[in-house]
Structures are given as C-alpha cells and as structure tokens.
C-alpha cells in the first residue's frame, strides 16, 4: 500500500472519529433539551417540590443553588485573588513557591466527594454548623479555590510586563502597581474566569450532599430576615440544590414523576451553564473593548 492511499484512509478514519464524537455530543445535548424543555414552565421553576405527589416544582432548589453559588463566590474570590496576586507578583521562584503550587494542584485534583466528606467532618460535625448553607458554601469554596486561583493567575499573566515596569518607574510601590495598574487591565479576563468557575460550582453535587444537606424545607419568600428559620436568606438552614435534587430523586425514587422532574431540572442546569458560558464570552469582550478602547 503506498503512502498516498494510506494517507487517504487515515484521513477518512479521522473524519469518521470526529463525526462520531460530534454525533455523541449533539445527541447528548439534544436529548437533555428535547426531553427536558417541555417540562420547564414558570410554574415548574417557582413552586416548591412535593415529596410524594405529582406536579412539584424546583423553586426552592433553584433559589438554593444561586444563593450557595453567590455565598461561595463571595468567600472564595477574595482568597483566590490574594493568593494569585502573591503567587504571580511577589513569589520568588524557590522551593516554598513550588510546594505551594503543588498544594494547589493537589487541591484541584481531589475528587469532589472527598472535599465534601471533609466539609462534613469539619464544618457539619466538628464546628457544629449542621447541614447548612454555610457548610455547603465552605465546601464549595474549597472546591472552587484552586480553579479560581489558577484562572486569576493566568489573567495576570496576560498583562504585559511593560505595564508593571511603567508603574514602578512612576514611583508606585508594587502593591499600588498591582491594584491601580494591573488589576484594572486584567478585569475582563478575571471576570471571564469567575463566571466560568461559577458554572462549575453551580452544577456541583457530590461536595454538597453531606454539607448543605439533602432536604429543602419550605421557604417563606416574604421573610427576608436572615435570622428567621424559614427565611430564604438564613444561612443555617439545610439547602438542597438543583444538582443534588436530581441525584436525590433518582436514587430514592418515591416521587411519581421523578423522571419528568429530573429531565426538566437537567435542562435547566444545562441552560444555566450555557448562559454562564455565553455571558463570560460576551462580558469579557465587551469590558475589554470598554476598558482598553481597542
């Protein structure tokens, strides 16, 4: 067989492989949307779940998912920002830095169930926070920190060193250079990273089943005092998120319409992730144009 024939066959095979993969991926997304979207309605998105009857919604779970996401982001963003600034702007290239980098890599490769179990042991049992939004937010923080730190570090990396030299040449201290020159320039790509990691946190379930709990008590959406037990803002109440809800109703199966609710919830999750992705791209580009007049 000469090499030209071989070439044609190989290229043909590669076309085939790529085609199969595209088919699998399209079938996956298609299945989620086609089976799930008809179930999604305003009623479905806003009513609370029912344990034994048909026709429950995912209102409380959806709220819990967003609330946990916001809390986890509020905790993890400042820490990740500080760590990334130190790592990229201050840290010398020595063994301490490499140990720290290794630690961050280890944290990012830990299975999320292990992070969840640690959260259970430390926050739920040791600190007696119980199954609560706060425990869940901390577990999500651990899960999120390494990803966010790396993405912010990458953003700092994209800023030209001339900007740093310019800042220092003007007599600014390093910290002033970072906060006044580097960070404003890096905002678009930091924001993109934050939104993308928010998408991952939004769909996380394994780290939450033993920290934020698997029950969603009814909420009174007229009561915004965070110290009342039925208030949506109370951080000490157990909070089943949308992703946990899908897992829960599929593994316990006492709901008559569990399948319909799971496909509806899956579609909502996937659409939310899609929106996060699009928002990250759009906002990143838009802010970049605004801030750099490019």
């Amino acid at each position: 067989m000469n090499s030209k024939v071989q070439n044609k066959i190989a290229i043909g095979v590669l076309y085939g492989i790529a085609g199969v993969v595209v088919l699998i991926l399209l079938a996956l997304v298609g299945y989620i949307l086609v089976s799930g979207l008809p179930k999604v309605s305003w009623h479905f998105l806003t009513t609370p779940a029912k344990a034994f009857l048909k026709g429950g919604g995912i209102g409380v779970q959806l709220f819990n998912s967003f609330y946990l996401l916001i809390l986890a982001m509020l905790i993890s963003f400042p820490i990740a920002l500080g760590a990334a600034i130190y790592l990229y702007e201050y840290a010398k290239d020595n063994w301490v830095t490499s140990v720290v980098r290794t630690a961050i890599e280890i944290l990012s490769s830990l299975p999320s169930v292990v992070v969840g179990l640690f959260g259970f042991l430390f926050f739920v049992v040791k600190l007696r926070l119980g199954f609560s939004i706060l425990s869940g937010a901390f577990a999500l923080t651990f899960f999120n920190l390494p990803l966010l730190t790396r993405s912010i570090e990458d953003s700092l990396h994209t800023i030209d060193d001339k900007q740093r030299e310019g800042g220092l040449a003007l007599g600014l201290s390093r910290w002033e250079t970072v906060t006044r020159v580097i960070l404003p320039a890096a905002v678009p790509s930091i924001l993109t990273g934050v939104i993308l990691s928010a998408g991952r946190v939004f769909g996380e379930a394994a780290a939450l089943i033993y920290t934020a709990g698997q029950s969603a008590p009814a909420l009174n959406f007229m009561d915004w005092n965070p110290f009342n037990i039925s208030s949506p803002l109370n951080p000490m109440r157990p909070a089943e998120t949308l992703a946990v809800h899908i897992w829960k109703i599929n593994s316990e199966g006492i709901m008559p319409d569990a399948k319909a609710i799971s496909s509806g919830s899956s579609a909502v999750l996937v659409i939310a992730i899609l929106l996060f992705n699009l928002a990250a791209r759009y906002l990143g580009k838009r802010l970049y144009k605004r801030l750099t007049s490019a």
């Binding site: 790529a18 595209v22 500080g82 769909g203 799971s262 992705n277």
Partner: protein, 310 residues
C-alpha cells in the same frame, strides 16, 4: 520649633504611607495563599486520621482490608473479625477508570487531531466551543442520562438489571471525552508550526506528518490529558453511583451490579454512626481515594518533567 536629632531620626526612619500599604498588601495576599495551603493540609490530615482509625483503633489488618473480598462492616466473619475487604470496590474503581480511558482515548485524540490538523476552521468555530461547553455539564446530568438511556439499553441488549460496570463505563466515557479532547487539542496546538512545515517539505503526506511528527512531539501533553481524564473518572461519585448498581461484590462480568469506592462512600456515609467501625471503614475508602488522586497527580508531574527534558 526645632526638632531634636532623635526626633528627626525617628521621622526619617518612619515608614511612608506607601511602604506601609505595600507591607499590608504583601501580608494580606500571602495569608490568602497560606490559607489555601492550610486547607490542603487539613483535608489530608483529617481524612488520613479518620481513615487510619480502622487500622489503629479497630485493629483491622491492612492487608485484609486491601485484599479481602467481603464488604460487610456490620458483620464479622468466621474468625470474629469484621468483614471489611475493600478489594471489590478497588477493582470496580480501577476497572471502570481504565475501561473508560481506553474507549475515550482514541476518540478524544482523533477529534483533537481533526480539530487542529485536518479542519482547523470547523474545529475552531464549532468543535472547540462545543467541547468547552460540555466540559462544564454537571456530572449528575450525565448520571441521569445514564439512568434513563444507557441502563435501559444495556438491559435490553445483555439482560439482567442493566446496572453495572458497562453502564458506568459508557457514562464515564462520555463524561471525560470533552475534557480529554480539549486538553489533547491544547497539546497539539503547542507543537510548533515549523515541525509540520519541515515534514511536509520533506515530502511526507499529511498522515505521515500527523503520525510521525505531530503526535510524537505532543506525546507528553496527550498522556497528561489521558491521565487527567482517568483521575476525573476515578474520583467521579454521583454519575457512577447512579448507574453501577451499588452491590459491593467482586465483579464477575461487566453487566452485573458492582460498586466503586466513590459509590459506596456516597451511599454509606450518611447511614453510619460517627466513630463506629462501619464509619471508619468508609473513611479508609476515602483515604484510598485521596491517595490515588495523589498518585495521579504524581504521574502527571513525572510526565511533565520528562516532556520538558526532551
């Protein structure tokens, strides 16, 4: 009023506002970093101390734990020892990881080659955004689709319940495919353009260039991608737990219900009492999981180091 020399000295030696701010910033950002390291140390420390309790306070033999085939921590065997053999779960976890990586690797690398070498335009416009989106799909969604599509399918083809290693492998294959594909594509993109040009200029066909030059040069990156996918598959909990059947038995065939470390952990930890042997045995499984993720990490580092030396 004239200042005494001491006062003057003090004033001159006092840190300026900017210098104070600088120190403050350095301290704050450094403490954020230390916090992350502390979290890592705490996680490893807590899980290790809990996981080792099975062997230190409950006096289970480490070898019995790793090689025993009977998992039933609330019962004792003929010798009066608790039945905490984790081999079936360890085998289950490894089987499902290796099988899904074997299936996913050719598809992922093939697609990455297609995206980068054969049809870069379509690759960049369609395939890349789609794979990036799919990386973000939550694992419970994969589990749910496995439950409603893959399990009934294996049931109708192979009989039995449909739950088992085969279904788990299918779900994990689709789940790690986008991750491995997009990392492989990154590895191929890192191969300098002049490698390809030189090879084509020597008269090599496109396939010869891909096979003999591009893939060889990208090997460390491709291996990293595959190991990364395996690490993800090994640590995946809920998607696997939903389709594997959760029977802690030695797997005899790919279509019988089985269990993995993660699936036993997710179902068991809420039903046991803290500090009891049943609970400690589960923490030992978590420790095995943690150690394996460290091993995967080490492998990725070794590959990276070897790749740099060339």
């Amino acid at each position: 009023m004239t200042k005494s020399p001491e006062q003057l000295e003090q004033e001159l030696k006092r840190r300026s506002k900017a210098a104070k701010l600088e120190i403050w910033g350095r301290v704050v950002s450094f403490s954020a970093l230390i916090l992350i390291v502390a979290v890592v140390v705490a996680i490893i420390g807590f899980v290790a101390s809990k996981g080792l309790a099975t062997f230190t306070t409950n006096h289970v033999n480490l070898w019995d734990f790793l090689s025993g085939k009977n998992w039933n921590p609330s019962l004792t065997d003929a010798h009066g020892k608790p039945e905490v053999g984790a081999l079936s779960m360890i085998v289950g976890s490894f089987l499902i990881t290796v099988l899904s990586a074997i299936v996913a690797t050719p598809f992922a690398i093939g697609t990455a080659v297609f995206m980068n070498e054969i049809s870069p335009n379509r690759g960049a416009k369609i395939l890349q955004p789609v794979t990036e989106l799919l990386v973000g799909i939550p694992s419970v969604v994969y589990g749910f689709i496995g439950l409603s599509v893959v399990v009934p399918f294996t049931r109708s083809v192979f009989g039995g319940s449909g739950f088992g290693i085969l279904s788990g492998t299918c779900v994990l294959f689709v789940m790690i495919l986008p991750t491995v594909t997009s990392m492989s594509a990154d590895a191929l993109r890192a191969v300098p353009r002049y490698y390809r040009e030189a090879s084509l200029a020597l008269g090599a066909t496109q396939w010869q260039t891909i096979y003999k030059v591009v893939l060889r040069a990208a090997t460390p990156g491709l291996m990293t991608a595959v190991v990364f996918g395996m690490a993800r598959a090994f640590g995946e909990a809920l998607a696997v737990q939903m389709v594997i059947g959760n029977a802690a038995l030695m797997p005899h065939s790919l279509v019988d219900p089985a269990a993995t470390l993660t699936s036993v952990l997710t179902t068991g930890i809420g039903n046991t009492v803290m500090g009891s042997l049943q609970n400690n045995a589960l923490w030992s499984l978590a420790l095995v999981l943690l150690l394996m993720s460290l091993v995967f990490n080490l492998i990725i580092r070794l590959i990276g180091r070897k790749g740099r030396l060339q």
